[in-house]
């Protein structure tokens, strides 16, 4: 197929409505949605899960399955209507003119085919290119997505590559046909932050290089800011605000957009002085949408009789170009009104040391041959010489990417694993080789955990109430059933859930509500130390703030020590007192939050800080992109664990980084750092995140 040159908008979606049909009724997934993508433009679609952003993408691909249908409106690609286009013509467009990149790279690649063959298929099918030409082209593209050793890559199977490499291959495959439109559906959500930063960087450059238009779907506002020119905010199946990045970020004109920005931790937020403002209530289910404005019931500016009178249309904002909002009152709201000061809370004093970990090591032995044992054994060094202490009512954040050993550390603390070496002193008792079965009820109930995945944290077969009651029973709280029932209801009050939830099944709860139940369960036995393993990372942004605040509030009341495991530095900066950065089983840097977020940095921390997308146009970041992927813990590099990806390696003389693990050094203020760099180099580091003066917005 030959591609015709075309000057008009690449993609024009006009008042599109998409519905899914079940046997009983119709579920509208997208309503009255319009967006235009110009050539070379990158448009972001942002919204919480269930808002219909992926449905729009599938609508453009005309791949809605048997239940889905475009009910009204039009989707024009280069002026050609896609709705109702015959299958054959669509097949020619898909993969050739429009390419899509999905969230899970492994699911997009055929595990039984070599990478090279999968890439070569694209031009061979769409353009009838010869095998040799296709190979040459594939090689060139693999090189342009910055993969090392392209020829070896072409000759490997997908499972031989890491997640980041796989996603690069998927992008390469999408680019093989030089598409006019690239749809990226959460392309980096499954990846670690530093790997994500590399991919984002690549996508931006490729967009410039090939002039491809992009539709970038994400729930992360920071990521949209970094990649897109324009964005469209969606809520409950509707676009609520669209405009250029600058317009929407700096002078938003829809209450939902505003609420969204107030609920994400930006560098200025502080848990005591500027707490996050959570959006009240829950996301409406598709068949429970209110009349009028969908956001109405959760909106601060809601006006009875106006907002719920009739369906609201998108209206242009005067003075801006291509900036629309779906709000009845956007002209009458004072958008510069400062955030209502939340309850300022005093910083709690930290108390005595409750947890002291000294020189902790945890090695796993993996037998090469699992069935008959024997064979050669390999050692996985999950934790190496970890030392730290945590005090009463302190929040210690443990930061690191997947495979850094943070989950293993949590397991050792909980007693699910015993330490290989070193000591763990918990409330005055040494517990490093006491597994959970041998711990006293008291010890067990005083260290509890909040888990990451809200959909997995509760037993789907038991009611919420009986799960909390079971924890009370195990911890020996309450003398009889009636007392435990009473205590359980009080715990539900504590996590701000209605008491009626006691008899509900977990599947009837939303993600945020499940996470609250998980918190209630963790605090059932008056836990003194709570290990929170990424407790909010799987939740939507608007719910994250509420759950985070709840956790902070309970902590303040109970003087709990919180070990907050996370890879999200924005939230860590917001709530933690001290931070511990881990890489490949080592603690590479530790200190107070201020010390970690200002120079001098460990080179890894610096990269991590730079990688986190921040949804604020007034922030300027130093650009640090790491090469490659995290090495396997099975086969760690010699010397410093970070030396394979470190940008500063050249500044240490004599190849010291490759020979020995650097010692932990204490800088001023108890700031510890594990690096060979000398003080002089460390002191010349510049801050990664800089705030520039915000332009005055005109209201």
């Amino acid at each position: 197929m030959t591609k015709q040159p075309y000057d008009g908008p690449i993609l024009e979606i006009n008042q599109l409505s998409i519905s899914f049909f079940t046997r009983m009724f119709e579920i509208p997934a997208v309503m009255d949605f319009s967006v235009t993508v110009m050539p070379g433009e990158a448009v972001g679609l942002v919204g919480e899960s269930g808002c219909g952003k992926s449905t729009v993408a599938l609508g453009v691909m005309q791949d809605l399955g048997v239940n889905g249908e475009c009910v009204s409106g039009s989707i024009k690609f280069k002026g050609r209507e896609l709705i109702g286009m015959p299958e054959e013509e669509l097949r020619e467009l898909r993969g050739s003119e429009i390419a899509m990149i999905y969230q899970e790279p492994m699911a997009s690649l055929n595990p039984a085919m070599k990478i090279g063959k999968q890439l070569m298929e694209v031009p061979m099918i769409h353009e009838g290119m010869s095998k040799e030409d296709a190979y040459a082209m594939a090689l060139e593209i693999v090189e342009s997505v910055r993969l090392p050793d392209p020829e070896r890559m072409m000759n490997s199977f997908p499972h031989q590559l890491s997640g980041g490499q796989q996603q690069r291959i998927v992008i390469a495959m999408a680019l093989m046909s030089k598409p006019s439109l690239l749809i990226l559906d959460e392309p980096t959500t499954a990846l670690d932050v530093t790997v994500e930063a590399g991919i984002v960087d690549l996508v931006k450059d490729l967009g410039k290089k090939y002039g491809t238009s992009m539709l970038f779907i994400s729930h992360n506002l920071g990521l949209i800011l970094e990649t897109c020119d324009r964005l469209c905010v969606m809520y409950s199946g509707e676009a609520v605000e669209t405009g250029s990045i600058k317009d929407v970020f700096d002078k938003m004109r829809h209450p939902y957009t505003q609420a969204l920005f107030r609920s994400i931790p930006l560098p200025g937020a502080d848990k005591n002085e500027h707490p996050l403002v959570a959006i009240p209530g829950n996301f409406p289910l598709p068949h429970e949408r209110p009349r009028g404005c969908n956001f109405g019931p959760r909106c601060n500016y809601y006006k009875e009789g106006l907002c719920n009178a009739h369906n609201i249309k998108m209206a242009p904002i005067k003075g801006d170009t291509r900036h629309d909002s779906r709000c009845m009152r956007f002209e009458s709201i004072d958008w510069d009104e400062p955030i209502e000061a939340g309850a300022n809370t005093a910083k709690t004093e930290v108390g005595d040391v409750v947890l002291k970990v000294d020189n902790l090591k945890k090695y796993y032995e993996v037998a090469a041959n699992a069935i008959f044992g024997g064979g050669e054994k390999r050692v996985v060094k999950a934790n190496e010489t970890i030392s730290f202490e945590a005090r009463e009512s302190e929040t210690l954040a443990i930061v690191g990417e997947s495979g850094c050993g943070k989950s293993t550390l949590a397991k050792v603390l909980m007693g699910l694993e015993t330490a290989t070496d070193g000591s763990v002193e918990l409330l005055g008792k040494y517990v490093e080789d006491v597994s959970i079965e041998e711990r006293t009820t008291n010890t067990v109930s005083s260290v509890q955990m909040v888990f990451q995945n809200p959909f997995d944290t509760l037993n789907p077969a038991m009611t919420v109430g009986s799960q909390i009651k079971r924890a009370l029973e195990i911890f020996g709280v309450g003398k009889n059933e009636a007392e435990r029932e009473d205590r359980m209801l009080k715990l539900l009050d504590l996590v701000k859930l209605p008491r009626a939830f006691a008899t509900r099944m977990p599947r009837q709860l939303s993600g945020g509500q499940k996470q609250r139940v998980g918190i209630a369960r963790a605090f059932a036995g008056a836990a003194q130390i709570v290990v929170a393993d990424e407790p909010v990372s799987a939740l939507d942004v608007s719910v994250q703030a509420a759950v985070t605040d709840l956790l902070m509030e309970i902590q303040r009341e109970n003087k709990t020590t919180l070990l907050f495991i996370s890879h999200d530095l924005s939230i860590v900066r917001y709530l933690s007192d001290r931070v511990m950065v881990m890489y490949l089983g080592h603690v590479v840097e530790m200190g107070s939050t201020d010390a970690i977020f200002s120079p001098p940095y460990h080179p890894y921390t610096e990269a991590l800080l730079s990688a986190v997308p921040i949804a604020d146009t007034s922030i300027v970041k130093k650009h640090v992109v790491l090469e490659g992927d995290i090495p396997s813990a099975m086969d760690p590099p010699s010397g410093c664990p970070f030396q394979t990806r470190c940008n500063y390696k050249g500044q240490v003389k004599g190849g010291l980084c490759e020979q020995e693990v650097p010692p932990m050094r204490t800088l001023k203020g108890g700031h510890e750092i594990k690096c060979h760099l000398d003080d002089k180099t460390l002191n010349t580091m510049e801050p990664v995140i800089k705030q520039v003066a915000k332009e005055k917005t005109t209201a």
């Binding site: 959970i436 079965e437 509890q448 888990f451 997995d456 924890a471 029973e473 195990i474």
Partner: protein, 387 residues
């Protein structure tokens, strides 16, 4: 008395089955009326396939239940002159109160085929679900720890399961019913071991759940041991002191054989499901609050494996029904007079070329019951996947 026409035979059979029709309509009416409240069972009535399967299964359950009202003659009674008579033949020497016809004819020993088919459903429905249930108890009790602990325990148990699975089933049955083997008491000891599992299963279930409340635990465990022990003595050792519960020695052998060959497959299913579910966070949550391994296996993992297990249970009753048919066909275990479908098909087989009516009804019955179970399993699977 004139022989009945085909239509008349059909009409009479429908009339004889009247209690079944009433029962079916009642069950469907009540179930459909309350289907929004009964969870997965209610959802079954949204699926046409599931409803057909359910109807077939309920049909046979009700037939077995109301067998005494449906049967026209004693299934073992031979009436001279009725040998190999065609369907609809008037009964010779029938008195006024007796049923006047052999609705589906007579078999080669002059017994009423219709009554034998109805009586056969009783045998199948007595053994198949119960044997499947026992196989599940054994499979669950061994499969959970194998999947949960892994390692050497798993290797050993899986090896044993594979060993049983690799052994030809029919040969195993032949061995078990051989008089020499029966004399050694082997089937009895096997029964003694296999039937112990449900009691162990229940005791562990209560202990792990209620050990924090000793009173409740003691009550449940005592009840289980008392009632379970009583049934156990009765069926495994035929030594029930009250003499109410007993099991014929030959049926016991069939039972043991069926449980023995079914439990390794159940074991493997449970083991796989456990390995999957044990990685969930709620299992980790249970571990971090210090729950014992059996609580986690029985109360955290098992309830969440129920979907595939219920489906497999239905399918497995079907397999067991076929297995019972096979056993009967080979004349293994049950008496030669027994009206079970397998034996009846075998008896009818010899004259199949001349008279097809004694062999066809039991064969069709077997087919419809197994088909019903399979459709029911399909319906359940389909409905449990959607939400």
């Amino acid at each position: 008395m004139e022989p009945l026409s085909s239509l008349q035979i059909f009409g009479h059979i429908l009339y004889q089955l009247l209690p079944v029709w009433i029962g079916l309509v009642a069950i469907f009416a009540i179930s459909i009326a309350t289907k929004t409240k009964t969870g997965l069972y209610g959802k079954l009535f949204d699926s046409p396939i599931g409803m057909v399967g359910f109807a077939l299964v309920v049909f046979w359950v009700l037939t077995a239940l109301f067998g005494d009202m449906i049967m026209t003659h004693d299934p073992l009674q031979q009436i001279s002159g009725m040998k190999n008579k065609l369907p609809g033949t008037p009964t010779k020497g029938a008195e006024a109160g007796d049923f006047q016809w052999y609705l589906l004819g007579g078999d080669n020993l002059a017994r009423d085929v219709f009554s034998r088919v109805v009586a056969g459903s009783r045998i199948v429905l007595k053994i198949a679900p119960l044997a499947t249930l026992f196989a599940f108890m054994v499979g669950i009790t061994l499969g959970l720890p194998a999947g949960y602990y892994g390692g050497k325990r798993d290797t050993l148990l899986s090896f044993l399961a594979n060993l049983i699975l690799a052994f030809p089933v029919i040969l195993l049955f032949y061995l078990l019913v051989t008089p020499e083997i029966v004399k050694t008491g082997l089937p009895k000891y096997m029964a003694a071991v296999l039937f112990l599992f449900p009691i162990i299963f229940l005791v562990v279930l209560w202990q792990s759940r209620f050990y924090t409340q000793p009173q409740k635990r003691n009550l449940f465990v005592a009840l289980t041991v008392l009632i379970g022990g009583w049934i156990y003595m009765g069926i495994a050792w035929n030594a029930d002191p009250t003499g109410i519960i007993s099991m014929q020695a030959n049926i016991l052998i069939v039972f043991v054989a069926v449980v023995f060959v079914n439990s390794p497959t159940v074991f493997r299913i449970i083991r796989g499901l456990t390995m999957d579910i044990k990685t969930r966070d709620y299992v980790a949550a249970a571990q971090t609050r210090g729950e014992g391994p059996w609580y986690i296996m029985l109360w955290e993992i098992l309830p969440n494996a129920r979907g595939p297990l219920i489906v497999d249970f239905c399918l497995r009753i079907g397999y067991t029904t076929i297995l019972l048919g096979t056993l009967g066909f080979f004349g293994l275990g049950l008496e030669s007079e027994s009206p079970d479908w397998g034996s009846t098909i075998n008896a009818g087989r010899r004259l199949l070329a001349i008279y097809s009516h004694p062999a066809l009804p039991p064969a069709l019955s077997l087919m419809s019951l197994v088909l019903g179970l399979n459709l029911l399993a399909d319906g359940l699977r389909e409905q449990s996947l959607r939400d």
